[in-house]
């Protein structure tokens, strides 16, 4: 499972992203339990301190909370919070790269509009 981590970002960050993706998709449902630090570190073959760092990012962001003696749970409303955050970053994360690539390939504004219209029909 170590191969799942790409080399471009710190592991704890990638773990946090994986957790967020799980919450956003509903795989980790609200008020439901997420795997423990031990389970994460064993599954991914990483140092538990690293796993803790990743999990703590979500705790600080108000997406996870700790139930004494039981483990980590998803905060209710976390999914909406995450989706909202992704909406806010939609422009930066997806649209901007689209424009950059279009420019790189020499696709003009009119051609781009046509491509998008075609795509929207299929949506």
């Amino acid at each position: 499972m170590q191969a799942n981590f790409s080399a471009d970002r710190p592991i704890f960050l990638q773990l946090a992203e994986h957790l967020e993706a799980g919450i956003a998709s509903g795989a980790y449902f609200e008020e439901g339990q997420v795997p423990s630090i031990t389970e994460f570190s064993v599954a991914y073959g990483i140092n538990p301190a690293t796993a803790l760092k990743g999990v703590n990012l979500l705790v600080e962001a108000g997406l996870l909370y700790k139930k004494r003696g039981l483990g980590m749970f998803v905060v209710s409303g976390a999914r909406d919070k995450l989706l909202q955050k992704r909406r806010e970053k939609f422009l930066e994360d997806f649209v901007q790269p689209l424009f950059n690539e279009a420019r790189h390939l020499g696709i003009g504004a009119d051609e781009l509009r046509q491509i998008i219209e075609r795509g929207l029909l299929e949506l």
Binding site: Q2, F5, S6, A7, D8, R9, P10, I11, I37, T38, S41, V42, Y44, G45, I46, N47, P48, A49, T50, N100, H104
Partner: protein
């Protein structure tokens, strides 16, 4: 709860195995001890655990010198390629003996592990294959429960599946019962994600001792078309570079920029590449 190694030196006849080695091992951290063959890793671990005496320098375990000190020495457990059990002793006998000397040894867990690895309990230790001898040693290491666990090439001779199992068990043990762990190995890629800090030894000297986060964030690699890469790295300090055809991969110092230039790929340093580059650099400096 630390081990303090102060200025340890050791000579074997004509060779200097260790030269003024100093470092401390902090509580409950996983350390990597890396170095090429003959760098001094095994000598160092043997000196810490009292199997070998240094020519000069001291080792303090929790503030006490390790010389002729059962109290200090019993806090460390060294898993090494040497078999120190009597030639007529069976695996089960070794577990019993360990329990005698290390009361906190979890014999039941050791037996469970033996079962998982399919290690026969009634076989003599010297009759085990290289791989199974390693497995035997690591069942003891994972169950002995000492505050300091030193592992010298723990997966010697183990197949891929068993190696994977071992790392999982080690992480589990560390997560549930933290202790200070030192892993000395050549399989850097396999343990890189486990290590919190890495000590690198070369020719009996420590040439690097840093938390991995710090060690690996000091640079990054850029790869892509040779011209574009060349332009990008023109104003940066190059650690190393390699190329194939029109593609170039350069390792530079510094922090990666926010924006990735088009056509180029950036990635973090990984421990194995960092280690190899460091060794190459040292080789270069010695020529």
């Amino acid at each position: 709860m630390t081990i303090e190694v102060k200025n340890i030196s050791k000579n074997f006849k004509k060779t200097c195995a260790l030269n003024g080695v100093s470092f401390s091992l902090e509580p409950n951290k996983i350390y990597g001890l890396l170095g090429n063959n003959g760098a001094g890793k095994t000598t160092l671990l043997n000196i810490i655990t009292g199997r070998l005496l240094a020519d000069s320098g001291t080792v303090e375990i929790d503030g006490e010198s390790n010389l002729n000190n059962d109290n200090a020495l019993s806090k460390c457990f060294l898993l090494s390629a040497d078999n120190l059990y009597p030639s007529d002793m069976k695996v089960s006998g070794a577990y019993e003996a360990t329990k005698l000397f290390q009361p906190q040894f979890n014999e039941q867990y050791a037996r469970e592990l033996a079962k998982r690895f399919e290690l026969p309990l009634n076989r003599k230790i010297t009759a085990l294959s290289t791989g199974y001898a390693s497995i035997f040693r690591l069942t003891v290491a994972l169950s002995v429960g000492t505050p300091y666990l030193l592992l010298d090439e723990p997966v010697l001779g183990l197949d891929a599946q068993h190696r994977d199992l071992f790392y999982k068990l080690l992480i589990e043990k560390y997560a549930e019962n933290p202790c200070t762990i030192v892993i000395s190995t050549h399989l850097i890629g396999e343990v890189a994600n486990l290590l919190e800090q890495t000590i690198i030894i070369r020719d009996g000297r420590i040439i690097q001792n840093l938390p991995n986060e710090q060690m690996l964030s000091g640079g990054y690699t850029v790869s892509g078309p040779a011209v574009a890469v060349g332009q990008f790295v023109a104003d940066k300090k190059i650690i190393s570079q390699s190329g194939l055809g029109g593609l170039l991969t350069v390792c530079v110092q510094g922090t990666p920029p926010e924006r990735v230039p088009a056509g180029l790929e950036l990635s973090r340093l990984n421990l194995q590449d960092y280690f190899i580059q460091l060794m190459n650099k040292e080789d270069g400096q010695n020529e």
